[in-house]
Symmetry: C2
Subunit: 403 residues, 2 copies
């Protein structure tokens, strides 16, 4: 007997045919003896449709009512999936957020699951029933409907896997796993069979958007094994678990990239304590998301150069904030809005010497100029001219034996 939480995203339940297909997957997963909890998203397009209705009333639509509105989407999927299961002879039942209840804490549209009562559902599972639960929502301590911001239904799946002590949490989606790089760009990209939570986090935040980062973080924190797999094929997916359980034959697991980046360098900045805070505080207050930050040790003790990357469409706002910042002194601001970030990610990197050199050599062989470098224990990122993005990914993919 295995207890599984299965999560089905919006495209997986986007039509009645697909919901019936998901019902068949669940029937198979339950087999003769497994206990299945299914978490579902709203049918694809549904949530956007509801958001649009609210925006037609006001861009500042009341947050409490916004959550009441949006939570209806998953309710529809739950009822349809439970009905489809019963129709093929599987005992099933939908549970609404308030019927469990799924208790959340925090602001509307950005709450997080703190607890839920497992008894009734566990009894139902023991009795060979499949429990269908809406993702992305819960109720607050004073009984209001809430939705979960970051992570959405993935976060519900992982939180419920933890609270129900599930053996595994499987994320069914429209791709069949995590790839060594973007398979739509690089045809030789390979599906990764096993990956650590850390690597998954580095890859997903860099653009391999198969699963919400905050849900991966929660799974890592509570050591809940994940598997990302396709709803539409029978192929094995990607297993995500703790690093120590992975046998690293390769030092690099994947090559990620992000587009639409811009690089800003502040040259000749007065080098004294607190200067970085003075630079970034006003940007943060204006909701500008700063990605990489690189500061060189200056040869001259009094001044330094500071480089960071942001999303391209925030460049002009960023420059204007910097120029109006009276708290910093510098010689010059230069920027480049035609850059991209390419990263190699691998938990094996830390124990493999020469990775850094090998990456730089590979890029140099392709005559790709590196504009900035940033490293962490399991990731090495470079900023390059965006015209070189594909060439760089292809070269690195081959260099690190990922083809």
């Amino acid at each position: 007997m295995i207890k599984k939480v299965l999560k089905f995203g919006g495209t997986s339940v986007g039509t009645i045919d697909r919901i019936q297909h998901v019902a068949n997957i669940i029937k198979k997963e339950q087999g003769s003896n497994n206990r299945i909890i299914a978490i579902v998203s709203a049918m694809s397009g549904k949530t956007n449709e509801l958001i649009k209705l609210s925006k037609n009333i006001s861009n500042d639509f009341n947050k409490r009512e916004y959550d009441v509105l949006l939570s209806s989407g998953e309710q529809v999927t739950c009822a349809l999936l439970a009905g489809a299961l019963i129709n093929i002879g599987v005992k099933a039942k939908s549970w609404m957020n308030w019927q469990i209840p799924i208790l959340t804490k925090g602001e509307h549209s950005n709450s997080r699951i703190i607890n839920l009562s497992t008894e009734k559902i566990d009894d139902f599972l023991k009795d060979n029933g499949v429990a269908i639960i809406p993702g992305f929502q819960g109720i607050s301590e004073n009984g209001d409907v809430t939705t979960i911001g970051r992570g959405g239904s993935d976060a519900t799946a992982v939180a419920l896997a933890k609270i129900f002590k599930a053996d595994i949490c499987e994320i069914y989606t429209d791709v069949d796993g995590v790839y060594s790089t973007d398979p739509t760009k690089i045809p030789v990209a390979k599906k990764i069979d096993n990956i650590s939570f850390d690597e998954m986090l580095e890859l997903s935040s860099l653009g391999a958007k198969v699963m919400q980062s905050s849900a991966v973080q929660t799974a890592m924190m509570y050591d809940i094994p994940l598997e990302v797999k396709s709803t539409f094929t029978n192929r094995k997916g990607t297993k995500i678990f703790n690093q120590e359980n992975i046998d690293y034959s390769k030092s690099v697991t994947g090559v990620a990239y992000s587009k639409d980046d811009a690089k800003v360098s502040i040259l000749g900045v007065e080098d004294r304590p607190g200067i970085a805070a003075n630079i970034f505080e006003p940007l943060s207050k204006s909701q500008i998301n700063v990605d990489m930050v690189i500061q060189n040790i200056s040869s001259d003790q009094k001044i330094t150069d500071l480089t960071f990357t942001i999303k391209r469409d925030e460049l002009s706002k960023t420059i204007s904030i910097l120029e109006n910042n009276k708290q910093i002194k510098y010689q010059k601001i230069v920027h480049n809005d035609k850059v991209s970030k390419v990263s190699i990610v691998g938990a094996g990197m830390v124990s493999t010497p020469g990775i850094t050199y090998k990456m730089f050599r590979a890029l140099s062989d392709e005559k790709i100029n590196i504009l900035a470098i940033s490293t962490s224990e399991i990731k090495l990122s470079v900023i390059i001219d965006e015209t070189n993005t594909l060439k760089a990914i292809r070269k690195l993919h081959t260099t690190f034996d990922l083809d």
Copy 2:
């Protein structure tokens, strides 16, 4: 200070513009001091869309999940209307069926409201807030979502008007009241200002479908004044209340009709106790809805003729059930599937002599043959050839001074 329950049907909240219009109506109704509870239906078309989704899975879709599915429609309207009210500066809040809770009893898809807790909502009303509540639904004693069959959102409005001790229950819809006959067919049809519950029941069951009959019955039972009015005009609607409060200057209030009827006569039926039950029991078991039943006293003591009307599309099923019924003996079955029923309705009829004669004379003047007659205290119905329907309505409307 007046406490009002306002109910807005599907077409009244069918688009965002209309929801915003309804928000303005509520703001005006609240004025400086009134207490407003608004009951809303799903946006028009929404419920049918959800039903279609369930039918694509199964025509025998699980009833519990069906109610979970359908109840999402009103939830969406509640959130949008509450948001629209807040947006124009009115304090408002949606309450879901489980948040109140609205307790129901009975089967899924056909339950009825038995109780609800009023305290929290009454506090909110006292504090100048508008409460928005979904029609058509509730929860059962064991915490499942239920929907109300007969009466739908009208039934919720009347039940809540009773439980909250509202002064009046106003039904906003897409017509501006109850008419003396169908205004789309007879241009001289007149809006009725005041009508009794009984008359309203006779009119609505006959085709003037402005309000669900079972909701009118409940209002009558608990003496809750109703008003049916248009969401889209400012005109006065139709007030519906107890007969003793109405001043009857006219004996006939309206002329109703039903289409798609068929008439079946069983001639030469053996006349003994229990024969009618033997005829109608198998029809009822097959869900055939029998409308008028007429049995003449037979001249011959041993046999009689029995006539009844049914919906036209159930005629062949009805005939086959009769022919296979071994419990009854008769000479012949004749039927006519091209008939319609025309009725005059009026609480003043009982105290006005000569109404019956006046009706028959009017029809005779138009050379309309009467195929069957049935009377009650406030209604007189005749079955006629369906080609004469409009002519009959027009003539009766004029005869009884309704133009």
